[in-house]
Amino acid sequence: MTTILTCPFKKLPTTSKWALRFAVQTKTKKTLAKPNIRNVVVVDGVRTPFLLSGTSYKDLMPHDLARAALTGLLHRTSVPKEVVDYIIFGTVIQEVKTSNVAREAALGAGFSDKTPAHTVTMACISANQAMTTGVGLIASGQCDVIVAGGVELMSDIPIRHSRKMRKLMLDLNKAKSMGQRLSLISKFRLNFLAPELPAVAEFSTSETMGHSADRLAAAFAVSRLEQDEYALRSHSLAKKAQDEGLLSDVVPFRVPGKDTVTKDNGIRPSSLEQMAKLKPAFIKPYGTVTAANSSFLTDGASAMLIMAEEKALAMGYKPKAYLRDFMYVSQDPKDQLLLGPTYATPKVLEKAGLTMNDIDAFEFHEAFSGQILANFKAMDSDWFAENYMGRKTKVGLPPLEKFNNWGGSLSLGHPFGATGCRLVMAAANRLRKEGGQYGLVAACAAGGQGHAMIVEAYPK
C-alpha cells in the first residue's frame, strides 16, 4: 500500500511551462494512503427517501426507518450478514424505548444476533461520528466490516411529563400504604400536567438554533436576499439531480400499511418573490432566517457498508471511495454555534496535505442558508482568520461550481442523525460521476461542534 505514495511532481523542472500547467491540473498528492495504516473503503451506502416530518413516516418508530435503511443496504450490496463485525448508528432525539436504536434495527433487519451494535449521538454530526468510529475500528485492526448509519424520526418526539409529575409518579410507585399514597396524591397540582417538550435549543445557552443562525447571519452581514438566493439554488439543484436520477443512494421504502415511498418530498423550487413574502421565523419581525431558507424537520435513515480495503477486494467488491483524514472541532456554542465547517475545513486539509484546489467535490451540511453563507464569509475573511482562528491568512472560499451540486440539507432534508452518511455518499457518487478524486465533507452541529472528512474516489 505504501508504494504509490511518492509523488514525482516536486522533482519536475519548475522552469518548464508544461510542468507548471501539469502541476496546476494535478493534485498535491496522488493519494492519501498512509504507510502501515489500513485503507478504509466505502463499499456502498443507501438511504431511505428523506420526508418532511409528519408525512408518510409519521406512524413509524425510529428503528423502523433504520431497519429500512439496513435492509436496503443488504439488498444493494448483497453482503452476507454474518461477515458484519459491528453496527453503529447515530441519532439525536432518542426514542426512549429503543435507546440503542442500532441494536433494535439490526435485529429487526435480520442481522446476526451475534453482531454487536451501538448508538452514538453528536447532534447533526451523529452519523459522521458513527462512520469515523467505524473507520477507527477498522484502521486499528479490531474489525474488518462495519455498518454505519443514522436515523431520525421527527414525526414523533418524546414529550415528557413535567419533573414534578414524574417525581410524584415515582414516589407513588414506592409508597407502601394507602395513607402514604393519599398524602402524595394530595400534593398533586394541575400545573404538574404541563408537558415538557424537547427543544431544538442549546442547553448551555437556551438559544434555539434558528435564532443563533439569524444572529450569525447578521454578524456576517448576510442579507435576506442572499439567503433566499442560496436556498433557491439548493432546491433547484436538488430537483435537477432528482430528475436526472443522480440521487442513486435513495432506496424505495414500502411503508407498512401505506404506499411505497421512492423519493425525497422536501424539494420545492420556488421563486424569489414567493420566498420574499415569508416572515422571519425566529427573530421577529426584522430577522432574516425564514422557513424557506432553513432546513426543515425531516424523517429519514441512512446506512453504509465500510470495510478494510483488502477485505472488500477479497470479497470481490468494487469499492466506491476511501474514507481518509477526518477532524472534529468545537467552539463557542453561543456566538459561533454553526461555524464548524470554517474551523474544520483548513485543519483537515492541512492534516491530509491537500489544498482547497485539490478538492473536486464539496459536500457541506446546509442547516440554514444564512449559516452556509456566514461560513463562506468567515472562510473568505483575513480578519476572522487572524482574530478567531489563529491563522495568518484566510481559509479561502470553496468554488461554488463544485459545491453541493446535487442539492443539500436545505432541499433534500436533514434528519439530524442520518445526514452524515448522505453527505459522504453524495461526495463519493459525485466523484465517480464527475471524475474527480478528492471530496470534502463538512458539517456544523449543536454544541458549537463541527466535522470535516476527506473522501477519496476509488480508482476505477
Partner: protein, 708 residues
C-alpha cells in the same frame, strides 16, 4: 409620545461592560458639513433617514450636558426643517451606553435654584418637541439608558422614575418601555461590539423607514390589563386612591428622608390633574428645588467619592491574580469566594473541617442559585461558574496561588499559625491578605518571612451585598502588593478605600464607640425595637441593635475588648459585660438564632429575645433625662461616630475625607442622605456638632470630648 419608538438592546454581562472608545467610522454617508464642528452630536442621512449619533467627547459615557443639549436642539431643528428627511434614528456612538443621565458636574456647577430650573425647562422643551415630532424618531439604545437618557429614549413610566432601578432589556420590553430588542451579535467580519452597533443602526433605520412609510404602526398593542388600568385612571376617585397608596409606600420606604420621590409624585399629580403644561412647569421648579437640597449635595458627593474609589490609584499590578485561595469557609470566606468565582477567578476554598467546608460551598452555591431563580443566570452559567471553586481541606494547589486571603477566626495566634503554614507552600510572588476587622495587620505580618507581601483586606458581611472593601496597608506593604489587592477588589465589584494600619483601621474604629453608646442606651432602658426605629429613622439602613445581631455578638465583644484596651476611656460608655453575658448564654446574634432578637429560618417577623430582659435588668443604668430625648439618643450615636472618623483623618489613618465618607456609607450603613461623616460635618456645621458633643461631654465625660 407615540412617535418615539425605542429599540433596546440586551446588555450582556461581559461584552458590554468593557467600554472601549472606538472611533466610529461614518461610511455611506451623504454627510453634512456640520459634522466636523459639533463635538457631542453629529448626524448623517441614509436615504431619507437621519442618523443622529450621540458621543460625549473624552468620556466613557454620554451625559446630558449643556453642550450636548444645545447641539441636539440644533440638529433636531435641522432635521425637522429638511425636506429630504422623513424620519430619524437616535443612536450612541459608544457601545454599551446610550445616555447615562444628567451630567452631575453640570448640576454641581449651578449656584441658584433659577439656574437649575432653567436647565430643566430647556431640557423639557426639546423633549416635548421630540414627543410631538412630526417625523417619526426611533431611539436605538445599546446598553445603559438611565435618568434623562430614558426620557430621551423612551416615554417614562411612573415606577421607573421613582426608584431609579436598572431594568434589564427583556424586562423593559415586557413593561412596554421599548418596542423591539436586538440581541448582541458574536464575531463576524468585524469586532462584535462594532458590528452590533451597526446592526442596531440598520434595524433602527428599517423601523424608521417603516414608520415614515406607514408600513409599521406606531401604536402599541395594549393588553387587557393595561386598557383596564387606563380606564380606571380616568375616574378621579380611583386616581386619588392610587396617589395615596403610592405616597404611603414611598414614605414607608424612605422614612421621609429623601425628598425626591414625594416631589415626583406631586409633579405627576399636577401633570395629570392640571394638564401637561402645569406639570412641566411644576417639574422644572421641583427639580430646581431638589438639586439645591442638602440631600442632593450629599448624594452627589457620594457619587464623586464612589467614582474615585472605583479606580486603582496604585496602577496596574505586575502580575494579574488568576488563582485565588481562601482560608476559612465561614460566612466571610465563602462570601469572598462567591464574589470571586463569578468573575472568573479560579478559587480554592480551604477549611479545617469537612462540615465547615460543606457549609461554605453550600453558601456559594445558594448565592448563585438564587440568581438562577431570579433569572439573572441560567442554570448552565451557574454550573460553569461554580466549577471555578475547589473546596478542600489541605494545601494542595497552593503552589499556583497568586493571592491567599485568610478569613479564619479572629485570633492572632491562629492567624500567625496559618500565615506560617501558607508561606511554606505558596510561590514567591503570592500575596497574603488578611480579612480581619480589628487585628492590626503589622502584628499579623510580624511572623511573616516577606512582610512586603502582607496586606489587609477587610470585607463586610454579607460580602455579596456589601459594596465596600477596606484595604489596609502597613509600613512594609509594597506598592505592587497594594495594586494587586485593589485590582482583585475592583474585579470583585467592590468600592475600595485604602487606609493605614492601626487598631480597628477606619471602619471598625468608628463603629466601636457608637456600639459602646448603643450598649449604654440599652442599659438605660431603651428597648432594642425602639432603638432600631430611632436609628433607621435617622437614615441608617439597619437598626443599631439589629446591626449587633448581624455582625455577631462575639465579634462585637472581641472588637470592644481589643479596641477598649488600646483607646481606653474614649471607647467606654456601655458596659462590655453585656456582650460577655450574651456570648456566655449563646446569644451570638443571627448566626446562632438568638441575639437581641430571635431568628427563625423562613420567619420574617423578628421577636425580641425575652431572655435578654434579665441580662439588661442586671446591668441597668439610670437614664440622664437631659440627654435622653429621641433626638439626643440619635445624636449621641452619630456624634461619637463622626468624632472618631475625624480623629482617623487627623491621625492619617484615612488619606482623604472622601474615602471616609464612602467607607462609612458603603461599609457601615451611615445614612446616605447625610453623605457620610465628613459631608455631615460640612452640611450641618462643625460648630453645631461640637456644641452637641460638649453637651454630652458634660453629662458623660471624656467619651464625647470633641477632637480638634
Amino acid at each position: 409620545m407615540v412617535a418615539c419608538r425605542a429599540i433596546g438592546i440586551l446588555s450582556r454581562f461581559s461584552a458590554f461592560r468593557i467600554l472601549r472608545s472606538r472611533g466610529y467610522i461614518c461610511r455611506n454617508f451623504t454627510g453634512s458639513s456640520a459634522l466636523l464642528t459639533r463635538t457631542h452630536i453629529n448626524y448623517g442621512v441614509k436615504g431619507d433617514v437621519a442618523v443622529v449619533r450621540i458621543n460625549s467627547p473624552n468620556s466613557k459615557v454620554n451625559t446630558l450636558s449643556k453642550e450636548l443639549h444645545s447641539e441636539f436642539t440644533e440638529v433636531m431643528n435641522e432635521i425637522w426643517a429638511s425636506d429630504q428627511i422623513r424620519s430619524a434614528v437616535l443612536i450612541s456612538s459608544k457601545p454599551g451606553c446610550f445616555i447615562a443621565g444628567a451630567d452631575i458636574n453640570m448640576l454641581s456647577a449651578c449656584k441658584t435654584l433659577q439656574e437649575v430650573t432653567q436647565l430643566s425647562q430647556e431640557a423639557q422643551r426639546i423633549l416635548e418637541k421630540l414627543e410631538k415630532s412630526p417625523k417619526p424618531v426611533v431611539a436605538a439604545i445599546n446598553g445603559s439608558c438611565l435618568g434623562g437618557g430614558l426620557e430621551v429614549g423612551v416615554p417614562a413610566a411612573l415606577d421607573m422614575m421613582l426608584t431609579g432601578r436598572n431594568i434589564r432589556a427583556d424586562r423593559a420590553k415586557k413593561m412596554g418601555l421599548v418596542d423591539q430588542l436586538v440581541e448582541p451579535l458574536g464575531p463576524g467580519l468585524k469586532p462584535p461590539e462594532e458590528r452590533t452597533m451597526e446592526y442596531l443602526e440598520e434595524v433602527a433605520i428599517t423601523f424608521a423607514k417603516g414608520l415614515a412609510d406607514k408600513k409599521i404602526s406606531p401604536k402599541r398593542n395594549k393588553g387587557l390589563v393595561e386598557k383596564l388600568t387606563a380606564y380606571a385612571m380616568t375616574i378621579p376617585f380611583v386616581r386619588q386612591q392610587v396617589y395615596k397608596k403610592v405616597e404611603e409606600k414611598v414614605r414607608k420606604q424612605t422614612k421621609g428622608l429623601y425628598p425626591a420621590p414625594l416631589k415626583i409624585i406631586d409633579v405627576v399629580k399636577t401633570g395629570i390633574e392640571q394638564g401637561s403644561d402645569a406639570g412641566y412647569l411644576s417639574e422644572s421648579q421641583k427639580f430646581g428645588e431638589l438639586v439645591m437640597t442638602k440631600e442632593s449635595k450629599a448624594l452627589m458627593g457620594l457619587y464623586h467619592g464612589q467614582v474615585l474609589c472605583k479606580k486603582n490609584k496604585f496602577g496596574a499590578p505586575q502580575k494579574d491574580v488568576k488563582h485565588l485561595a481562601i482560608l476559612g469557609a465561614g460566612l466571610m470566606g465563602a462570601g469572598i469566594a462567591q464574589v470571586s468565582v463569578d468573575k472568573g477567578l479560579k478559587t480554592i476554598l480551604k477549611d479545617a473541617t469537612l462540615t465547615g467546608l460543606d457549609r461554605g460551598q453550600q453558601q456559594v452555591f445558594k448565592g448563585l442559585n438564587d440568581k438562577v431563580k431570579k433569572k439573572a443566570l441560567t442554570s448552565f452559567e451557574r454550573d460553569s461558574i461554580f466549577s471555578n471553586l475547589t473546596g478542600q481541606l489541605d494545601y494542595q494547589g497552593f503552589e499556583k496561588a497568586d493571592m491567599v486571603i485568610e478569613a479564619v477566626f479572629e485570633d492572632l495566634s491562629l492567624k500567625h499559625r496559618v500565615l506560617k503554614e501558607v508561606e511554606a507552600v505558596i510561590p514567591d510572588h503570592c500575596i497574603f491578605a488578611s480579612n480581619t476587622s480589628a487585628l492590626p495587620i503589622s502584628e499579623i505580618a510580624a511572623v511573616s518571612k516577606r512582610p512586603e507581601k502582607v496586606i489587609g483586606m477587610h470585607y463586610f458581611s454579607p460580602v455579596d451585598k456589601m459594596q465596600l472593601l477596606e484595604i489596609i496597608t502597613t509600613e512594609k506593604t509594597s506598592r505592587d502588593t497594594s495594586a494587586s489587592a485593589v485590582a482583585v477588589g475592583l474585579k470583585q465589584g467592590k468600592v475600595i478605600i485604602v487606609v493605614k494600619d492601626g487598631p480597628g483601621f477606619y471602619t471598625t474604629r468608628c463603629l466601636a464607640p457608637m456600639m459602646s453608646e448603643v450598649i449604654r442606651i440599652l442599659q438605660e432602658g431603651v428597648d432594642p425595637k425602639k432603638l432600631d426605629s430611632l436609628t433607621t429613622s435617622f437614615g441608617f439602613p439597619v437598626g443599631a441593635a439589629t446591626l449587633v445581631d448581624e455582625v455577631g455578638v462575639d465579634v462585637a465583644k472581641h472588637v470592644a475588648e481589643d479596641l477598649g484596651k488600646v483607646f481606653g476611656e474614649r471607647f467606654g460608655g456601655g458596659n462590655p459585660e453585656l456582650l460577655t453575658q450574651m456570648v456566655s448564654k449563646g446569644f451570638l446574634g443571627r448566626k446562632s438564632g438568638k441575639g437581641f432578637y430571635i431568628y427563625q429560618e423562613g420567619v420574617k417577623r423578628k421577636d425580641l429575645n425575652s431572655d435578654m430582659d434579665s441580662i439588661l435588668a442586671s446591668l441597668k443604668l439610670p437614664p440622664k433625662s437631659e440627654v435622653s430625648s429621641d433626638e439626643d439618643i440619635q445624636f449621641r450615636l452619630v456624634t461619637r461616630f463622626v468624632n472618631e472618623a475625624v480623629m482617623c483623618l487627623q491621625e492619617g489613618i484615612l488619606a482623604t475625607p472622601a474615602e471616609g465618607d464612602i467607607g462609612a456609607v458603603f461599609g457601615l450603613g451611615f445614612p446616605p442622605c447625610l453623605g457620610g461623616p465628613f459631608r455631615f460635618v460640612d452640611l450641618y456645621g462643625a460648630q453645631t456638632i461640637v456644641d452637641r458633643l460638649k453637651k454630652y461631654e458634660a453629662a458623660y465625660g471624656k467619651q464625647f470630648t470633641p477632637c480638634q
